[in-house]
Symmetry: C2
DNA sequence: CGCGCCGTTGAGGCTCCTCAACCCGGGTGG
DNA sequence: CCACCCGGGTTGAGGAGCCTCAACGGCGCG
């Protein structure tokens, strides 16, 4: 399958909304995020992409996408030709099954995100974001003693949770002071998982 | 393909979260809604389902789903066997293409919903809900002079927009008094489309 | 040294929620 | 027949949650 490796510095955009492209990116190393830009300059981050994640499953079936992709850390990624991927989906049963499983999972995550944004408090949204990352990083064996690399800036959390940086700062400050989580040196430690799950409501 | 026709009275639930089922429903007549129930008794409505819509595309690939389906009006629907549908997807190129196109569209709608819930005001969310229905009903030729059947109760709007009934009532009251929309007899008329689009920001 | 990025904190205000009361229309049962 | 209830919509008063604006401090880098 035709593919090429690429690299992006942190904060660079990998794909811009409505650009046409005949290939999709798969993250090889680092973190990226997928978001919808808003007319007022804000954005809604829909998901954080980790190693192995495809940037947008929907993009395989269309040549443009509403979604933008930006590097959160420095990122290595890999471009795969969409047409090749589509034919592989048709011919290889295993590829198809994996792809559809991934697609289902991503859809469920967006649906949960919508639910959080519509009905939960700032505190709960942030707690759920952290717990979601804990789970996904755990599957990749990147968590040790409830501690994991956490390159997100407050701005990322704010954009993902539909909040302002100021308010995220207050909430996280609270959580720290209450001994629920700890953040230093771009690492996050969950000190009180039970309480964090309570907060996530 | 094995299928059976069914009927549900309005306000009845057609599928309850995490029930196992080997078939998916397609709406034949009437309106339904797909939602995620919340522990506190609230819910987030993710989409309104019209004639021709499949209740949940993801459900085709799993035997249980996080999502519940409820009839908004009295509804005729049709159960299709999931395994049959999956084999049809593998063997029939046209079925596959239509299915994936539908899936892409539904995913985009949820992503836009998340964006609205995260970053837009109550007024804008409601305006976008109305405009989204205008578009979908328009494709089905169910709109005449910006007027269409509108069976939603305030509670549905509230659950979809992440608001309370009380606040939805105020916002819609405002819109009515300002001559933007009109609602009577379960019909909605858009009186000032330009202003409605402004409001939707 | 200066500047940009990042996080923190305070004061004040708007949006939306909560609680509560009330109205209307359509059953349903005495 | 009326009494009553239930689903649905409206309105008011007060308050919580989150935002805006603003200022400040630390850190890394040209």
């Amino acid at each position: 399958m035709a593919q090429s490796h690429k690299f992006a510095l942190r904060r660079r955009t990998i794909y811009r909304t409505n650009e046409t492209s005949n290939s999709v990116a798969i993250i090889c190393d680092g973190w990226a995020c997928a978001y919808i830009p808003l007319p007022d300059g804000n954005r809604q981050i829909l998901s954080f992409l980790l190693a192995g994640d495809i940037t947008s499953a929907a993009a395989v079936f269309q040549d443009r996408s509403e979604i933008s992709i930006e590097a959160v850390t420095d990122v290595h990624y890999c471009m795969i030709n969409k047409a090749d991927l589509r034919t592989a989906l048709g011919s290889d049963r295993k590829v198809f099954d994996e792809f559809s499983a991934m697609w289902v999972r991503r859809k469920e995550e967006v649906e949960k995100l919508a639910t959080d944004l519509g009905h939960r408090t700032a505190e709960a949204r942030i707690a759920r974001l952290v717990l979601g990352l804990l789970e996904r990083l755990g599957e990749r064996n990147l968590v040790h003693d409830l501690r994991f690399a956490f390159p997100l800036r407050l701005q990322h959390i704010a954009d993902a949770a539909g909040l302002t940086v100021v308010h995220v700062s207050r909430i996280i400050g609270d959580m720290r002071r209450r001994g629920v989580i700890e953040m230093e040196g771009r690492f996050l430690t969950i000190l009180d998982q039970h309480e964090l799950m309570n907060i996530s409501s």
